[in-house]
């Protein structure tokens, strides 16, 4: 079984995307053997009121009768009014399974009081918080797109301030982030998961690969698969799985076991 932690549905204003609808994404998931995918709304990232995008996402999943394939995450901006009500509605009425934050688009710090309250609420509701390090690589950003990525120092502080909440950190230099967060992660009850979408499994320069460095610092029980479909080709993720040298047991954890535990599937 393969569960993907990082996919999107919706319009991207800065480059033409293919397969960015539920109807387009589902055949790609079939092609790659992805049984289930955590998904969020790109529209929600760009609408002033993120809740409109969250609603669109759920409607699209329902229209495509794909509730058993997608694990929807709510995009919430803690600096916009009624964020608390919105998150509760997303989880209790729309069946959303996680919270996704974009501080570098919505222009706030993760350490601001509203951010901390929102993340604590997610912990109380027993849903994980997904922090993508970026949506696209800023080196090639559109001139109107954000110039920022996730700020890891803020994440470190947030983890300490919200010790019970589970986190997923994706699409960034996970091995370096895991090293930075290693100490704080050990001091808290909530779990921290990382994907490996930007890491190489081949040893080219350092004594070990970036992927192995992630395994050493995060532990195999905290590594998950994220494709970043439809933004990126999925094949590089499978090259990584092919050449990572994982045991069958560890492969099961990375491809589905760890997320099954997180989502209680």
């Amino acid at each position: 079984m393969l569960i993907d932690i990082n996919t999107y549905i919706g319009h991207w204003p800065f480059r033409q995307l293919r397969n960015n609808t539920a109807a387009g994404l589902l055949p790609k998931m079939d092609e790659y053997g992805i049984d289930m995918a955590a998904v969020s709304s790109l529209n929600a990232v760009f609408y002033k009121d993120t809740q409109e995008g969250n609603r669109e996402l759920i409607e699209e999943i329902q229209v495509n009768k794909a509730q058993d394939r997608f694990i929807p995450f709510a995009v919430i901006n803690p600096k916009y009014s009624a964020w608390e009500k919105d998150l509760i509605y997303c989880v209790e009425n729309m069946g959303m399974k996680g919270l996704e934050l974009y501080p570098y688009y919505h222009r706030y710090a993760l350490t601001e009081p509203e951010s901390v309250e929102l993340v604590k609420l997610a912990g109380k509701m027993n849903i994980p918080v997904h922090l993508p390090c970026s949506i696209v690589n800023v080196r090639q950003r559109h001139w109107m797109d954000t110039n920022d990525n996730l700020k890891y120092d803020q994440v470190e502080k947030l983890l300490a301030l919200c010790p019970d909440t589970d986190f997923i950190i994706s699409n960034g230099p996970s091995h370096m982030i895991a090293r930075q967060l290693k100490k704080v992660s050990k001091e808290r009850k909530g779990r921290v998961y990382y994907d490996f979408a930007r890491l190489d499994v081949f040893v080219l320069r350092a004594p070990t690969s970036a992927f192995n460095a992630l395994v050493q610092d995060a532990g195999i029980d905290h590594i998950v698969f994220g494709s970043v479909l439809p933004f990126q080709y999925a094949d590089p993720q499978f090259v990584r799985l092919t050449y990572a040298g994982l045991s069958e047991e560890d492969m099961d954890k990375v491809t589905s076991g760890n997320l099954k535990k997180l989502f209680q599937l």
Binding site: L2, R15, L17, V136, R139, R198, F202, D235, P236, T242
Partner: protein, 275 residues
């Protein structure tokens, strides 16, 4: 549900296993003492063999400042050591600083004629369209060797490489020197790749390599659409998983993939050099 990892391992990687694979963009490095890091080169070669790569074209550029000729000679001597250590797989490219025009031309001659290197690598010391490069380009034309130039349309701020060449600079030099063979480096590591592809689309002597850590969906299809597979080279530049994966994923013909993995327009360069 399909096991795509198994499919990739058992079926898709046949593309690499059954065809010649020439990686036109890799590096070997010096250690903290400025000596050849032989262990790093061994790791690189071991990884390349695991991924069925047959040739690694390597350079050792200086990425900051304006290095003087003595520094550059030491760097190129390290490349020669790497070729000596792994003669069956590593080919060398000489790095030069066009700002030291006379010395740069002499270094190209030394590296090609004495050390068996097969091309030159330029970094971001000058735009490739800067007239200061003319003697270097003319020497490469005379020796019939390719030029691999670090490239990118930098979009993230602040701009930390003010003289990095993007596609428009390559288009200018193509007009001035249509007989030169120039590779616009790492389409997957040079910022706005669509900008640069559009700029060089009509420049038949400007090539690109697919290296870099970026593997945006569609990047290979658009590269082939703008340039044709015959103007595209396989490369990794420190990102093996990404380089292999994007070629496997691309929705282009098998024939085009094979051409990219071993671009036949560049075969003659590989016949030269130290092995």
């Amino acid at each position: 549900m399909i096991d795509y990892t198994k499919k990739l391992r058992e079926e898709k990687m046949k593309l690499f296993k059954e065809n010649k694979v020439v990686n036109w963009h890799e590096h070997v490095w010096d250690d903290d003492d400025g000596k050849f890091d032989a262990q790093q080169s061994d790791l690189l070669v071991e990884s390349a063999r695991r991924a069925y790569m047959d040739v690694l074209v390597c350079s050792l550029p200086v990425s900051g400042g304006s290095p003087d000729p003595d520094v550059i000679r030491r760097k190129n001597n390290i490349i020669a050591e790497a070729v000596d250590r792994h003669p069956n797989i590593i080919k060398g490219m000489a790095f030069v600083n066009p700002g030291y025009s006379r010395e740069a031309v002499a270094e190209i001659e030394r590296c090609v004629n004495e050390l068996g290197m097969i091309g030159i690598k330029l970094y971001n010391q000058y735009f490739i369209s800067d007239p200061v490069l003319h003697p270097v380009i003319e020497k490469c034309i005379e020796l019939d060797i390719p030029i691999l130039e670090h490239a990118g349309k930098q979009m993230s701020l602040p701009i930390d490489q003010p003289f990095i060449s993007d596609g428009t600079h390559f288009a200018k030099v193509a007009e001035k020197y249509p007989e030169a063979v120039i590779i616009m480096a790492h389409i997957g590591g040079g910022g706005d790749w669509q900008w640069s592809l559009k700029a060089i689309a009509d420049c038949p002597n400007i090539y690109t390599d697919i290296s870099g850590s970026v593997y945006d969906e569609g990047i290979i299809e658009q590269t082939v659409s703008y340039l044709g597979a015959e103007r595209v080279l396989f490369g990794t530049d420190g990102s093996f998983s990404q380089g292999i994966g994007k070629i496997l994923a691309a929705n282009i013909s098998e024939k085009d993939k094979i051409e990219i993995l071993n671009n036949t327009r560049f075969s003659r360069y590989l016949e030269r050099g130290a092995y």
